[in-house]
């Protein structure tokens, strides 16, 4: 009797938990509605970002959230007559945070991929990116084909991982899959220690890292894991927010504000 009760409660707990997870992860829930009115009333748009992602959005030494995407977001959202509020999140849970309404936008070097399109809506792309392969200078890896049988690292839940998987390249790596780190810094440190032989990363982030650690230490291969674009993730149901954001971004591109912000962070205009 006692055992039955315990078993029943266990099943109840576990099933309610799985239900909880699956539905908060779920995409396109039918109960979802356009939240524009609520956002307007609140006066702020909550931007979710991984605050360790340099140089797109990160905390500086003073604890202020800064970055290229942050400046872009502040400008775009103020053009919508609202204020931007930045909420650090764990990058693995970004879509869950968005769909459970804790944040309104994912704006942090967020690559547009087909898999992500099933969970969120994207604005028009605003930046080009490439998944580059970084090795130590002097490495015998010179082409993408050389990666076969080698140890390759990437960030967890990143578009680099998606790109590797979509090409089916992961299986040819040593261990049958890439090594996944929570942040790219870990991946690059492992590269330097010689335990991984290559890192697949967003070009923008890789360039920043290489410039910090010394240009002569690393080499970026001519081969890559494909071109891609950055967009801003919006809840599927938030059609109004999406169109207003697209308008604001178009305005900023047209009047040169976006280019100014880009030059400030990258010393060149890479906004598209």
């Amino acid at each position: 009797m006692k055992k039955t009760i315990i078993a029943l409660l266990t099943v109840l707990f576990i099933s309610s938990f799985m239900f909880g997870c699956s539905s908060s992860n779920g995409d396109g829930e039918d109960k979802a509605e356009d939240k524009w009115a609520a956002i307007e009333e609140r006066g702020t748009v909550i931007v979710g970002l991984d605050d360790t992602f340099v140089p797109m959005g990160f905390k500086d030494g003073n604890g202020e959230i800064v970055g290229f995407d942050v400046d872009l977001a502040k400008e775009a959202i103020s053009r919508m007559g609202l204020e931007a509020e930045f909420q650090p999140i764990d990058w693995n849970l970004k879509e869950t945070e968005l769909n459970s309404g804790n944040i309104d936008l994912i704006w942090n070097g967020y690559t547009i991929t087909d898999a992500r399109k099933e969970k969120v809506n994207f604005t028009n792309p605003y930046l080009d990116n490439r998944q580059v392969i970084v090795v130590l200078s002097g490495s015998d890896i010179e082409t993408k084909a050389d990666l076969e049988g080698r140890v390759v690292a990437a960030q967890n839940a990143s578009s680099a991982l998606d790109a590797i998987e979509s090409e089916g390249a992961g299986e040819t790596f040593d261990g049958g899959e890439p090594i996944l780190f929570d942040t790219y810094n870990d991946a690059f440190m492992d590269l330097e220690a010689g335990r991984v032989h290559a890192v697949v990363a967003d070009e923008i982030l890789a360039r920043y890292y290489i410039s910090e650690r010394g240009e002569d230490k690393y080499a970026v291969l001519a081969d890559d894991f494909g071109d891609e674009e950055y967009g801003i993730g919006v809840r599927k149901s938030d059609e109004t927010l999406l169109s207003k954001l697209n308008d604001a971004l178009d305005d900023m591109k047209a009047d040169g504000t976006a280019a100014e912000i880009s030059e400030e962070w990258f010393s060149e205009n890479i906004v598209k």
Partner: protein, 209 residues
């Protein structure tokens, strides 16, 4: 150094999470312990189950469940409260078992002796049993507190910027290991302070010798 303000911000998060979890989970642990020791069977079972779930599932999962799972059934709480709630519920289970161990370690003979001396149940518990229990639960309770100092870093999953997350951000920014080393030093100092406090408490309760 330009990383001090961010680290201090992180330290603030770590500290409040530590202090409030300790303040919340120790009393709750006492309540759970008392209910666990009650003679009423269903209550006993319920507490056993509670302790099983809290100790049997990762704290990280409990954090995610409370923050993302509860809104599904209509309970929406903010990040800080969710983190605090998960930590308190989790640590209360451990404290409850530590307190239970302390109470059970007192021999039956002492209860019998107290009865013989004509002490009431309340007098026995507060005058004879509890003072000894306090002494005995201090070392394992201290262990738990020290673990808690370091476990606060799990709050990163809800995007709360604690010391460890702050140092990881700085590590990314500066591409160096120094911030992580600094974080280690901060934890060491915190644990040092907790250890000192525990030692003082042990000296204070060093009666019956």
């Amino acid at each position: 150094m330009d990383m001090a303000p961010l680290m201090l911000q992180g330290l603030k998060t770590t500290l409040w999470l530590f202090v409030f979890t300790a303040l919340g989970s120790i009393p709750l642990g006492m309540v759970v312990c008392i209910l666990r020791l009650s003679r009423y069977k269903p209550l006993q079972k319920a507490m056993q189950l509670y302790i099983l779930f809290m100790r049997g599932t990762p704290l990280l999962l409990q954090l995610i469940f409370i923050f993302f799972g509860l809104p599904v059934i209509g309970i929406v709480i903010n990040r800080e409260s969710a983190a605090l709630l998960a930590f308190i519920l989790n640590y209360a289970a451990y404290f409850a078992e530590i307190f239970r161990g302390g109470i059970l370690s007192i021999s039956q003979g002492q209860y019998e002796a107290s009865t013989v001396l004509g002490l009431s149940k309340t007098q026995t518990f507060f005058g004879v049993i509890l003072p000894q229990v306090v002494k005995r639960v201090l070392p394992p309770g201290g262990n738990e507190l020290i673990t808690l100092v370091k476990d606060t870093s799990l709050a990163y999953i809800l995007g709360l910027g604690d010391v460890l997350r702050a140092s990881r951000t700085l590590t990314n920014k500066q591409a160096s290991l120094v911030p992580l080393f600094l974080a280690g030093l901060i934890y060491l100092v915190l644990v040092g302070i907790v250890t000192y406090g525990l030692k003082r408490a042990e000296t204070k309760f060093d009666y019956y010798r």
